[in-house]
Amino acid sequence: MNFAATKELEAEVDELITHYPVKRAASLMVLHAIQEQFGWISQEAVQWTAKKLELQPINVFEILTFYPMLRQEPMGKYQIKVCRTLSCALGGAYELREHFCKKFGLDAHKHGAQTTPDGKFTVEFVECLASCGTAPVMMVNDDFYEGVSHAKADEIVGECQ
């Protein structure tokens, strides 16, 4: 993939850099901006970011590999992130993830993120989303959902077109 930053992205990144007295500090926010536009962060995007922030590519790559939210490969169009941690587990998070896996023909016993062959849905467990009082909770891309019953889950999926 050839990485080509749009004018908008370039402008956004230039603005982000002004938030910090040291350019490097902008790197996480820049990666967020790239991922928002492309859905993931390619090696070319890493190179571009490094150049922009006057860093070595490894300085950017080591952040990309550390943070769970940053993607090194394309994911499904709709990324379903089910909270796995204790309060949600007590509230049925494991059953909820299994429900999605069954629905999409994915292997519920497999660890990590899984994407349907048509690239439409990714299902994964994530750690505590900080809304333990409304368990189980989940996100679909940037949208947050709480108290997700199986019926509600089906409804949410139904809206993903």
Partner: protein
């Protein structure tokens, strides 16, 4: 009777209350910032003068405010450590990386009343001669970051941020910085590394105390969202008046996040120490009790790293009798006042004030396996005891919950847990991942041993069984 007491969340859940600045201004918003900026130097008996910022810092000390993020450290003391003579800029960071499992209080503030946080931060910045501040919000709170950015824009437009705020000559800029799904960024030095654009590996203390060598090696204050909101109320009512809220040494209010097996999970703001754990769980104003027909099994009182309490557990707490003599009073776990000191005296902590309730339907080994998987996932990997230990504990608990356990796994778990914390790691994550294991196994040992022993017995049978039965067992497994 225990009551809710809404100080921080006074307006947040009022019908019609919106996060925009107009609504905030209608509710007296930014009046306290105006008051703070207008403070005149006060004469001291010794002829010296106390500047406005110094008066605020003094008031915060008097208020007794303790950090709401987890450690419960005195905020006034934390501020007093700031190196003000280095000649370097001083930074303030709001720790909005709310990620301790069980905790969802800062979310309420930021999503519903973002200007309260900004005002609290602006006052704190003014008090500490800070001109550039950041809100480090966890990456998953995408809407939260948008709400805060909108609020910052509004505050700038109204002159509450930027150059020469309200004609006071004081400049302050503030930005939102998003994390990306790593729990360790809630550790203040890890957060600083993350903000600098690096992996969030916590720094070793000494020498890297943020108050001296923080963000870009400059003096830095890192405070939790709720802590910073409290600053506004301390300046509004005065430190001495604030200290009357709550109980001695546990002043102000706390927003308790209540989750798990209760009828009414949610967040409840109380005067610190003025409600017991039992009241928070059972009172109809709070948790409303357990689900019908269920009995209490365990309570995690302060976020998942806090040591668990077993139902029926009793503690001897120091109290003063009628004559002021110190006596030991036997106190049931449910009768512990919800504050910093009582929970510490009972061997646990109020942490980020998150209570997770488990009833008798809970498989306690599964519960610990869940917690340990979290810590194994979130260890930053910098220190060997934590990186390896958290993973070993999680793997051991995985086998215990997947039919592969051993009777001695209980002792094995404790042995690993005992060898992680206590100065063997750079940050307190070592403690955070060990405390649940140590306390769960100590208090529910029979369940851990029974599970492992049952697995061993089943496997022994399988080995002894004819080959075709083994195949059958494997198919079922």
């Amino acid at each position: 009777m225990a009551q809710e007491y809404k100080l921080i969340l006074k307006y947040a859940d009022e019908p019609g209350y919106t996060p925009d600045i107009e609504c905030y201004l209608r509710h007296g918003g930014y009046d306290v910032l105006k008051k703070a900026l207008a403070l005149q130097p006060r004469d001291l008996p010794d002829g010296k003068k106390l500047s406005g910022p110094e008066q605020i810092r003094e008031d915060v000390k008097i208020s007794g405010l303790r950090g709401r993020g987890g450690a419960g450290f005195s905020c006034g003391l934390k501020w007093s450590f700031v190196d003000r003579k280095s000649g370097k800029p001083i930074y303030l960071i709001c720790n909005a990386d709310e990620s301790e499992p069980g905790t969802f209080k800062d979310r309420q503030i930021m999503y519903k009343d973002p200007h309260q946080l900004i005002e609290g931060m602006a006052i704190s910045c003014f008090a500490n001669d800070v001109h550039l501040a950041y809100i480090y919000i966890r990456g998953e709170m995408v809407d939260g970051a948008k709400i805060l950015n909108r609020a910052l824009k509004e505050a700038r437009a109204k002159g509450f941020l930027g150059k020469n705020i309200l004609g006071s000559g004081y400049d302050l800029e503030m930005h939102v910085h998003r994390g990306a799904g790593a729990y360790i960024c809630g550790e203040e030095t890890g957060l600083i590394e993350s903000l600098e654009g690096k992996r969030p590996y916590p720094r070793i203390k000494p020498p890297y105390f943020p108050a001296v060598l923080g963000l870009w090696m400059c003096p830095t204050i890192v405070n939790n969202v709720e802590t910073l909101c409290n600053i506004k109320h301390i300046v509004a009512m005065g430190g001495a008046e604030f200290a009357k809220l709550g109980t001695p040494n546990n002043t102000g209010t706390r927003i308790v996040s209540l989750s798990g097996h209760v009828k009414r999970p949610g967040y409840y703001e109380i005067e610190t120490g003025k409600a017991t754990i039992g009241e928070l769980i059972s009172d109809p104003k709070f948790g409303g009790g357990l689900r019908d027909g269920r009995k209490l099994k365990a309570v995690i009182p302060g976020g998942s790293s806090a040591k668990v309490f077993k139902a029926g557990e009793k503690f001897k707490l120091k109290k003063k009798d009628a004559e002021g003599k110190e006596i030991l009073v036997e106190t049931d776990m449910l009768d512990l006042p919800y504050d910093f000191d009582s929970l510490a005296a009972a061997g646990s902590m109020s942490g980020s004030s998150a209570i997770i309730v488990m009833d008798d339907s809970t498989d306690i080994v599964e519960a610990l396996a869940n917690i340990s998987e979290f810590y194994a996932h979130e260890s930053c990997g910098q220190c060997t005891p934590c990186r390896e230990g958290s993973l070993w504990m999680s793997k051991t608990l995985h086998r215990l919950t997947h039919g592969e356990g051993r009777a001695q796994d209980a002792d094995y778990l404790v042995k690993i847990a005992d060898n992680i914390p206590g100065g063997r790691t750079i940050c307190a994550f070592g403690e955070a991942c060990s405390w649940p294991v140590q306390s769960f196994v100590a208090k529910f040992k029979d369940e851990f041993v029974a599970k492992g022993a049952a697995d061993e017995a089943r496997r022994a049978k399988e080995v002894a069984a004819p080959v075709e039965q083994q195949a059958l067992a494997a198919a079922h497994h």
